[in-house]
């Protein structure tokens, strides 16, 4: 009955009669059902209670920043799809915005509208996956499939818009690749008409389920100061009660012309800044996105969808930093140009990267099962962290 090398909690008597217990070290991931891709956490646990969870990243590092320096301004756009493949539209948008800012390109109004419509659809797309996997990590599988079902319709819409279901490559420097296809706007309206009740239904199915709420409230509470100090962004930041949205407070594209609310966590069922607040902010953001898309479709102007941009695009030397509100919040693109046909440096600062750097701090003294809730509530997406 050899049980050697078995590092479980062992109780030993000390000299003065007390007991010492040894901690158990668990390697959670990179192959673990709820690490959202390939994250790894080294968990030091005392039974079910974690002392510490140290994130270990880099398993999905594809050196996209280095690739940017090799493939040219236009050629990098398909790669941005892969930065965050759950919400590729935002990365398209960020890169093209940065390039346009460096090159001083005005883009047509209609293209801005197309971009915003695509962005907001993509936000719903991404949030659906986020809330779905969150429910699945908490143990309810059905909400996940319901979310994926809705996401499938969005995939159909994207497929018709840009020919791909996941890696969109929709935006181009100077505008968007394609105009909205005929009849597409009606389909979007139909989708929204159907989707809004589905969000309500989703709320009834899981959001306010007592067990679900109990699993999330008062877990990993992050105060406003901590959130800003760790540079949490987007729904994670708003979950802590900071009312800041790049779309509203540092507007880009046509967002100043649109009317929408920025939902923030209110701590209605627990402490402000807990997992539930981060979750419910996402649910409310989906509704706001629906509102934005409806406005855009109403106000959609006519005109071209792309500006004339030379194929050999060479923006003048300089650097710029653009931010946009991606599904995981404020995404920063620091792009340096040296005046050649290849970007000199491209740094992508993503929302998940900040969030995962915080997990070690917030996961002290939580239960093992809470770590999963924390990962899910941060909406960690591994490709975005590693890039």
């Amino acid at each position: 009955m050899g049980l050697t090398g078995f590092e479980v909690e062992v109780q030993r008597e000390t000299e003065d009669g007390g007991f010492v217990t040894e901690d158990m070290t668990l390697s959670m991931g990179p192959q673990h059902p709820s690490t959202h891709g390939v994250l790894r956490f080294v968990v030091r646990a005392d039974g079910e209670v974690m002392k510490e969870a140290i994130p270990d990243i880099g398993y999905l590092h594809r050196s996209i920043e280095k690739i940017a320096e090799k493939v040219g301004w236009h050629g990098f756009i398909p790669y941005t799809d892969r930065v965050d493949y759950v919400a590729a539209m935002f990365c398209n948008h960020g890169w093209t915005m940065a390039a346009e800012k460096l090159g001083g390109i005005e883009i047509p109004k209609r293209a801005e509208y197309c971009r915003v419509i695509a962005d907001e659809l993509c936000r719903i797309h991404s949030h659906l996956l986020s809330v779905g996997t969150m429910a699945m990590d908490i143990g309810a599988f059905t909400p996940f499939t319901h979310a994926i079902r809705e996401r499938e319709y969005l995939n159909d819409l994207f497929e018709e818009l840009c020919g791909a279901r996941l890696t969109f490559h929709y935006m181009r420097i100077g505008g968007v690749g394609w105009d909205l296809p005929p009849g597409w706007t009606d389909k979007v309206i139909h989708f929204l008409d159907r989707f809004e009740p589905i969000v309500d239904e989703y709320d009834r199915l899981i959001s306010f389920n007592k067990i679900y709420v109990e699993r999330l409230v008062n877990v990993a509470v992050i105060s406003e100061e901590e959130a800003i100090d760790y540079n949490l962004v987007g729904p994670n930041l708003r979950g802590s009660g900071v009312s800041y949205d790049v779309r509203r407070d540092d507007p880009y594209s046509i967002y100043p012309e649109l009317e929408f609310d920025v939902p923030i966590g209110r701590g209605e069922v627990g402490t402000l800044g807990d997992c539930f607040d981060r979750y419910i902010v996402r649910m409310r953001e989906m509704r706001e996105s629906c509102r934005i898309i409806r406005q855009c479709l109403r106000q959609l102007p006519d005109g071209p969808v792309i500006a004339r941009v030379p194929r050999a695009f060479k923006p003048p030397a300089g650097d710029c930093y653009v931010r946009l509100e991606s599904a995981r919040g404020d995404m920063g693109w620091y792009v340096v140009s040296d005046g050649t046909a290849f970007p000199y440096r491209c740094k992508i600062r993503t929302g998940s990267f900040a969030a995962i750097s915080m997990t070690q701090h917030v996961s002290r003294d939580l239960m093992l099962a809470d770590l999963i809730a924390v990962i899910a509530s941060f909406d960690l997406v591994a490709p975005e962290i590693d890039r």
Binding site: G75, P78, C162, V176, L205, N209, I211, R311
Partner: protein, 185 residues
């Protein structure tokens, strides 16, 4: 007082749990009656329907080249960010133009971005709705379009009149108009 309040919370917890669980179960029960949304791809589709035919026009599937209308301008090769296209063509006075000896696309590398089909002047290189590309070796994923040295197409000022090439060119131009050229309505 506090005991009464505590008991109130206790009862409310029980009530909340029962009510929300019952509502969740009503939602799932309603789904038991609703129709499923699954499409049983690939073998239980409605008669005579191929999924490929139902995909939208912009769908970016496996690349196809119509050599009849390829001008060997190398625009696609230059546009490809991962260099998965290789074209070799040389001037041949005797044949009267460019002769292509190689037009290879490594579909194992291709990332289906569509950058190659955008600069094509005739719509020769284009995405098909075909997406089932699994194969047993990497070598068989390389599509070699030039079987024998081929004379590259030369656009005619007066418009195409060759009955063989005309429909192909028409298709290419239509593709360009609807897919690749974003300005076209």
């Amino acid at each position: 007082m506090t005991i009464a309040m505590g008991f109130g919370i206790y009862l409310r917890n029980i009530k909340d749990a029962l009510a929300t669980i019952a509502d969740g179960m009503a939602v799932t029960a309603s789904h038991m009656i609703r129709k499923p949304v699954t499409l049983e791809y690939p073998d239980r589709l409605p008669d005579g329907v191929r999924v490929q035919d139902t995909l939208p026009f912009r769908y970016r599937g496996i690349l196809e080249v119509d050599l009849e209308i390829c001008t060997a301008c190398l625009a696609c090769e230059r546009a490809c960010p991962i260099d998965c296209i290789v074209i070799e063509a040389e001037k041949d006075k005797a044949a009267g133009g460019l002769v292509m000896t190689r037009f290879d696309i490594d579909m194992g590398k291709c990332m289906y971005c569509g950058l190659c089909s955008e600069p094509c002047p005739t719509g020769s290189i284009h995405h098909t709705p075909e997406f089932e590309g699994a194969d047993y070796s990497l070598e068989s994923l390389v599509r070699r379009f030039v079987k024998a040295p081929t004379l590259a197409y030369k656009p005619k000022k007066s418009g195409e009149d060759d009955p063989v090439i005309k429909p192909i060119l028409d298709r290419g131009m239509r593709y360009l108009a609807e897919f690749a050229d974003p300005d076209a309505k």
